[in-house]
């Protein structure tokens, strides 16, 4: 059993499941408010407990976090406690009032989802007409206010070919760009997931963009599910991959107080609820997050079982692995694995 002291350095808090969009790839199937969402008082206590655990960054996510009237109370409280706060929005509600509040909060980042280079593709993916234009307006408002702004693009079969259009739009705007792969959780259908070849094409695109543009011109990365251990491409993630961090340095809090290592995981990975048990106790319990805390090489499955990087990699993204294979440590969307197949063809 693990005897280490773990710190949830980065925490994602789904403040509400209420959402004003209906994105085809939403992993939380957001839309309607979740029953019994945390109250303002409970949310503030959560921030204090996270501070006690050593958290450095809390990302306020949804649904759409700006639909909660008390979002700014949480954000200010997080900052007052000395932690960083990121707000992850779809960009639909951002206006001058929100911008002036954000300026006071001084967030680590404000992220906006942009899922197409054209209005047709973005609006179809997000399920809301005119959302593309609102998204672009929000990006303009954020950058004019000198707020640290990020675009997150979730790629699938229907939008990945528009990455060059999005890139051309983002160059020299001072906006960071994170590209992540849609995985079949929530309402996203497996049929729209990228093929392994398409996945590799996106990885080449990211590597090429990093080669052709400076960090100042285009700060671009592949998210945590764009790895691992390629022998042909450079690392395209921000950091080296040292295995899934759910329950090690990362934690997710559902809007009703459920605690998970990562919010993309199914409910069977809920470790407890902060209404029934103290968050600090849940985090420090010997049996919590055992899939990662007590991981051994023997837990690897599929092609990862015999991989020389398996022990350090832990079989890639836990969510991709469980959603595609039903196993915990065997993510088949792996650059190293695809390259091995490529060379054996």
């Amino acid at each position: 059993m693990s005897k280490r002291n773990y710190i949830p350095i980065s925490v994602v808090w789904e403040t509400t499941l209420n959402c004003n969009m209906k994105c085809m790839h939403c992993g939380s199937s957001a839309g309607n408010i979740r029953r019994n969402e945390l109250t303002t008082k409970e949310g503030l206590k959560l921030c204090e407990d996270l501070n006690k655990l050593g958290t450095r960054l809390i990302s306020l996510m949804g649904g759409e976090p700006f639909l909660r009237k008390d979002w700014h109370i949480f954000a200010h409280h997080i900052r007052d406690l000395g932690m960083n706060v990121t707000i992850m929005s779809n960009g639909l509600l951002i206006n001058e009032d929100i911008i002036s509040e954000l300026v006071k909060i001084d967030p680590y980042a404000v992220t906006i989802s942009l899922d197409g280079g054209t209005p047709q593709t973005h609006n179809a993916t997000r399920g809301v007409r005119a959302s593309f234009n609102r998204c672009i307006q929000s990006l303009d408002l954020l950058t004019k206010a000198n707020l640290p702004t990020t675009v997150i693009t979730t790629v699938h079969k229907q939008n990945f070919k528009e990455l060059p259009i999005i890139r051309d739009f983002l160059i020299n705007r001072g906006i960071a760009w994170q590209i992540q792969m849609a995985t079949p959780v929530g309402r996203f259908p497996k049929s729209l997931m990228l093929s392994q070849d398409e996945f590799y094409s996106v990885a080449i695109f990211i590597a090429s963009s990093r080669k052709n543009y400076s960090v100042k011109e285009l700060p671009i990365i592949g998210a945590h599910n764009f790895g691992y251990h390629s022998q042909i491409l450079p690392n395209i993630m921000l950091l080296p991959w040292i295995g899934c961090q759910a329950g090690l340095t990362a934690m997710g809090i559902q809007s009703d107080g459920g605690v998970q290592g990562c919010l993309s995981l199914p409910d069977k990975f809920i470790e407890g609820n902060i209404r029934k048990r103290n968050l600090i106790d849940i985090w420090n319990a010997p049996k919590s997050f055992s899939y990662n805390r007590n991981f051994t090489r023997d837990d690897l499955t599929g092609e990862c079982k015999n991989c020389r990087y398996g022990k350090r990699c832990k079989g890639g993204c836990f969510t991709v692995s469980t959603s595609l294979t039903g196993e915990n440590h065997g993510d088949p969307y792996c650059l190293h694995l695809i390259e091995k197949k490529m060379l054996s063809e």
Binding site: A109, T150, I204
Partner: protein, 79 residues
């Protein structure tokens, strides 16, 4: 150029074309010695950081939405 490299380059060029990359752009995207050394150094730094912050084993660092601040050396303002 050996057969293995040729095979890789051919496949890479084909995959790059899917997103409008020409052969030169695609092949320039391949990793270099500098990339390998940088990654090794970064891996070492984060494994050491993990040991210092949470004694007992290496840890990485999780991010949900990257920030422009993350592109500064070792997360300007984060630690």
């Amino acid at each position: 150029m050996n057969a293995r490299t040729k095979k890789i380059n051919t496949k890479l060029t084909k995959l790059g074309q899917t997103l409008g990359l020409d052969e030169t752009d695609t092949l320039r995207a391949k990793r270099t010695t500098k990339n390998i050394v940088t990654l090794a150094l970064l891996t070492g730094a984060f494994m050491l950081l993990g040991h210092l912050m949470m004694p007992g084993g290496p840890v990485g660092l999780y991010y949900t939405g990257v920030s422009t601040k993350d592109f500064q050396i070792l997360f300007g303002g984060f630690f």
